[in-house]
Amino acid sequence: MSQRREERRSSYTKAIGAIAWKDLAAELRSKELLSAMLVFSLLVIFIFNFSLELDVKTRNSVTSGVLWATFAFAGTLGLNRSMSIEKDRGCLDGLLLAPVDRSAIYFGKAISNLAFMLIVEAIVLPIYSILYNTNLFKPGLLLVILLGSLGYTAVGTLLSAMSVQTRTRDVMLPILLFPIILPVLIAAVRASGGYLQNLPFDQILPWLNLLIVYDVIFTAIAFMVFDYVVEE
């Protein structure tokens, strides 16, 4: 009995690893998704710069908002593309035919989506720092970016699996995602702003707690409902 359970656990983790590896290997070859996300992110930052006139005085107060708006918009591009690749050639059926619990598909896709988002953020942050002469490399801020990205991909992966089944999937994902992701974005913007303005930790802590609770709750919900979302 315990040996069977051990086998199931091993095939479950192998499936998660296989999906994440497959996404990263295909993307390293095509670079379609990352290049689109990256170019879009840089354009958004430039547009914000011209429209908000990010001078030294206002920079610290708006940087966190600009960064998270950029990550959120670029993130929808990545989530849409990542699930479209599965749907367009019927590959989602190939994943669903595997003899593993279907939540493994969710976790595999969520890990690769998170990796894409973190890669884009890792490139955008130094560029933003250089362009606007702002130090973004603070451990606290990096933790907030990790937690915020985690929550974003936890919800986004589930909703992209739903929206990809609709005819208007490109439009549907942001319409579904942004209202649900709002608590993550607010908490991430406030916590990031706190670190950038060097606020005391006890003022940042409630926002960090909100991010952690949101990440845990939505990962658990996605784990429970993913099977119903993808089956006809």
């Binding site: 086998e7 091993s10 095939s11 192998k14 499936a15 690893g17 296989a18 999906i19 590896w21 497959k22 290997a25 295909a26 993307e27 070859r29 095509s30 690749i85 050639r89 019927g90 590959c91 059926d93 190939g94 994943l95 669903l96 035919l97 595997a98 003899p99 593993v100 619990d101 089956e231 006809e232």
Partner: protein
């Protein structure tokens, strides 16, 4: 091997399968033929555990659907008109990925065997996006048999293939069936279907309208058998 009783599938108000009864014995090669919209693909998707039945009992290899779907999927290989392959991965990488999804031991040897069977050993390290439609379909069959399933489901496997590619696919299908696997195939190519299958079921208006073996209608007469069943259904 496959038992279906009083199967009903509804999409909203539309009922696609209306109390369908269907049985396949081990080792049989059953062709499921019928007009467009008869519910063939929907039925295969239910057998493949990709769709839930609205009502009725479905069991594959002794396991009930949808309750024991993971056990069913372990014994099932599916080929559809879409290849279910990743074009930015090589043939070997695609097979390796699906092999890992099935948690297969000794994967490298199994990949070599499968590539040999579908005749793609020399193109093993090429990206799938460089493959012709016929080669992609052969690799799709390799993907479907990598875990050596007992039951194979083919949904319109000839769609988009030219004559040469179709002939090559015939050989691969015969090899797959010759290993004692139970096969259910839907196709509009009646000449090829007659050549390959051992039993022919006509699905019309959500039920199996007729079932026959080759001897019942004589060689080369599948088309006339099919037309007579459809015409009779239209009268009722």
């Amino acid at each position: 091997m496959i038992k279906v009783r009083k199967l009903v599938k509804r999409f909203g108000l539309k009922t696609v399968l209306k109390g369908m009864e269907f049985t396949v014995e081990t080792g049989e090669f059953v062709a499921l033929i019928g007009p467009n919209g008869a519910g063939k693909t929907t039925f295969l998707r239910i057998l493949a555990s990709l769709a839930r039945p609205s009502m009725g009992v479905v069991s594959v290899a002794g396991y009930q659907l949808p309750k024991q779907s993971a056990e069913v999927r372990q014994r099932l290989g599916v080929v559809s008109h879409q290849p279910l392959l990743y074009v930015d991965l090589t043939a070997t990488e695609n097979l390796k990925f699906y092999g890992k999804m099935y948690n297969l031991p000794d994967l490298d040897n199994r990949i070599n065997e499968v590539l040999e069977m579908v005749g793609l050993t020399t193109r093993r390290d090429d990206l799938v996006r460089t493959f012709s439609r016929g080669m992609q379909q052969r690799l799709a069959i390799g993907r479907a048999v990598i875990h050596d399933p007992d039951v194979m489901l083919f949904d319109e496997p000839y769609t988009g293939l030219d004559q040469d590619a179709s002939a090559m696919l015939d050989d691969v299908l015969r090899t797959v069936a010759a290993r004692g696997r139970t096969v259910v195939m839907t196709s509009h190519d009646l000449a090829r279907t007659e050549d390959l299958a051992t039993r022919f079921d006509v699905l019309s208006r959500g039920v199996i309208a007729a079932s026959a073996i080759k001897e019942d209608f004589g060689a080369g007469n599948l088309l006339s058998f099919y037309k007579s069943v459809i015409a009779e259904g239209a009268k009722q």
